[in-house]
């Protein structure tokens, strides 16, 4: 049915897609190349796709020099792991309650959750509640709790659970299992596909989050990796626009600030790139489920 020979249209399409795909990849390569370049090469020739002289100095400085970077890495990992585990637990338990057909008022629970998707109080009241009433300022919980219960994820899990046959519950009930045991030992194992997909969504959000840190964490030793990256970049920019630019030039030639920035970027996106093949498969699957089942 399809012509074997490539028409001009086909060639144009392949060219456009190739160009766009390459443009998506090139910045990553530039950052990796920058992190491996010497400071002098970056200053002389700018950022390029391949390092002229390969140097691991920036990574050495990152590993040896700064406790803050190691701390920030640890904070990001803790926030991501604790946040993902708690979030999956809380949302799936809530989803289970919303999905139980034998419970007459489950829709009241659904409406309670959906209201949070429609109305949004905005940044100011939210910030004041978190700081003034919940006292989350400068705590690790500030980066974990606010997005923990997500109504949208609850509905995705609920829809998945509602597609399971009702007989499952009945037979478990007959055997004398309570609701929590049915949830933990029967439903959760069956809901693994949707929980895995949503768990990845959640952990990606926690890993990439810096907004909560920006809002609530002023203490430097509690800053997550993404925020540290931002601090480092804006600090260098700030220094460059200051009046003693000459001094900074001198310092910068000793301390490879540009390639350090690049190395920290590589370290920040490292886990994501590493897990990408796995992430992508689950994400696409999850999106399809969302698109088909609505």
């Amino acid at each position: 049915m399809y012509p074997k020979r490539y028409s001009i249209g086909q060639i144009v399409i392949v060219a456009i897609i190739s160009l766009f795909s390459l443009s998506c990849l090139l910045p990553f390569i530039m950052v990796i190349s920058g992190s491996l370049s010497t400071e002098k090469d970056i200053m002389d020739y700018g950022y390029s796709l391949f390092p002229r002289n390969v140097s691991f100095d920036s990574y050495r400085i990152l590993i040896l020099g700064s406790n803050r970077i190691v701390d920030a890495y640890a904070i990001s990992i803790i926030v991501t792991v604790v946040g993902t585990v708690l979030s999956l637990l809380v949302t799936s338990m809530g989803a289970y309650a919303m999905a139980r057909r034998s419970f007459k008022y489950r829709n009241v629970l659904s409406i309670y959750a959906i209201i949070t998707l429609l109305f949004n109080g905005g940044l100011v009241p939210w910030y004041i509640i978190c700081v003034r009433y919940l006292e989350l300022k400068d705590t690790m919980w500030a980066m974990i709790l606010p997005p923990l219960a997500n109504a949208f994820n609850m509905f995705l899990i609920r829809n998945f659970m509602m597609a399971m046959p009702e007989d499952l519950h009945e037979s478990a009930k007959m055997d004398g299992a309570g609701e929590f045991r049915i949830y933990a030992q029967l439903i959760v194992p069956l809901a693994k596909p949707v929980l895995a997909t949503i768990g990845l969504f959640i952990s990606l959000n926690y890993w990439n989050d810096w907004f909560l840190g920006l809002m609530f964490v002023d203490k430097q030793e509690l800053q997550p990796l993404q925020l540290l990256l931002r601090t480092l970049i804006s600090n260098v920019e700030f220094l460059r626009s200051s009046s003693n630019a000459m001094d900074i030039q001198r310092i910068a030639s000793q301390l490879p600030s540009e390639s350090i920035k690049m190395a920290l970027t590589v370290v920040t996106i490292g886990p994501i790139i590493f897990l990408y093949p796995f992430l992508q498969r689950y994400f696409v699957k999850g999106l399809m489920v969302g698109a088909v089942k609505g």
Partner: protein
């Protein structure tokens, strides 16, 4: 996503209500207990801020708290103050204009890429290019900000190197406000086009192949098949996704603006949006009255738009409305 409201069912059982309600709740106390953690968190982080919207009408004092603070005199004082400010007006205008630009360009890019990928017969080429275009979705805006800096900074940026190589004088991107609607649009497209394409591609793969077969028997070219079959088939998806995006037109992506623009005040004329304006008023200048008034306007307009767009989406296609 559709949520059964079950109102009808409840009505028919109205006779059983009364002590039946209590009995039902007690019988399912374990379910309620399991819902409790989520309910508590949603209450704290979603419901309480809703009640907190009243501070737009108050003379907020941190010590007194949201409900202890005195009412503003006159009541709309914060709003009057906001209306006298050029930057609040500018932020609202920028939010709507930039979001409209993002929606329009996004539509062209995402539908266009999906239609083009649909024409690709080589499975490996398709898989590899899809993987590459999806990749930027997974990194944070902070990292995108680093990438942008690599490309655009004055001394070492790749763009300026190319410009200089061609014998032209370099451009200081971080002080040219006029370029930024264009730069931000490109940044958004770079980051989310691959992601946005997936839903359209899914819709395209579900189109019955016999349409195309019939069309090609009638002598329709690939181009005509795309125009008269593929595109019309995508119309419902396009409509729904666009409507939902329009519903969020008052909400700017704070992460993008803050990571890409940051505190570069020179760029604010074209890039300061409600979310960054509110953030600065709250955290930098401590002007809570201004911040809460602007936030209040945003919340109310957003609410009306979400309901409105959902209503239209529901009428167009029952299954695609959120509620």
């Amino acid at each position: 996503m559709k949520i059964e409201t079950g109102a009808g069912r409840m009505q028919t059982r109205a006779g059983l209500m009364g002590n039946g309600v209590i009995r039902e709740l007690v019988r399912h106390r374990m379910l309620l207990l399991m819902f409790l953690p989520a309910a508590t968190l949603l209450f704290l982080f979603n419901y309480l801020p809703l009640a907190g919207l009243v501070i737009a009408f108050k003379n907020f004092d941190f010590q007194q708290g949201i409900f202890g603070s005195e009412w503003a005199k006159p009541l709309l004082n914060n709003f009057d103050y906001m209306l006298t400010s050029d930057s609040a007006y500018r932020a609202i205008k920028n939010t709507i204009l930039l979001n409209a630009l993002f929606i329009a360009v996004g539509l062209v890019f995402e539908v266009g890429l999906a239609l083009m990928l649909n024409e690709i017969r080589n499975k490996y080429f398709k898989r590899v290019t899809q993987s590459l275009t999806f990749l930027p979705f997974f990194i944070s805006w902070i990292v995108v900000g680093v990438f942008a800096y690599n490309l655009m900074n004055f001394e070492t940026g790749a763009f300026n190197r190319i410009i200089q190589f061609m014998g032209l004088s370099p451009i200081d991107f971080y002080s040219e406000a006029g370029l930024w609607p264009f730069i931000l649009t490109l940044a958004v497209r770079w980051k989310v086009t691959g992601y946005g394409t997936i839903i359209y591609l899914a819709a395209l793969t579900s189109v019955d192949n016999s349409y195309y077969e019939a069309a090609s028997i009638d002598g329709a070219s690939r181009w005509q098949q795309t125009w008269y079959i593929s595109l019309p088939m995508l119309k419902p998806t396009i409509l729904i996704l666009t409507l939902l995006a329009v519903g969020r037109i008052m909400n700017a992506d704070f992460g993008m603006f803050y990571a890409m623009v940051g505190d570069a005040a020179l760029l604010f004329p074209t890039t300061d949006v409600i979310d960054t304006f509110v953030y600065r008023s709250l955290r930098k200048s401590g002007d809570i009255g201004m911040a809460s008034a602007a936030g209040f306007v945003q919340s109310i307009v957003a609410f009306v738009l979400v309901l409105g767009s959902n209503y239209i989406a529901r009428r167009a296609d029952r299954d695609s409305a959120i509620f």
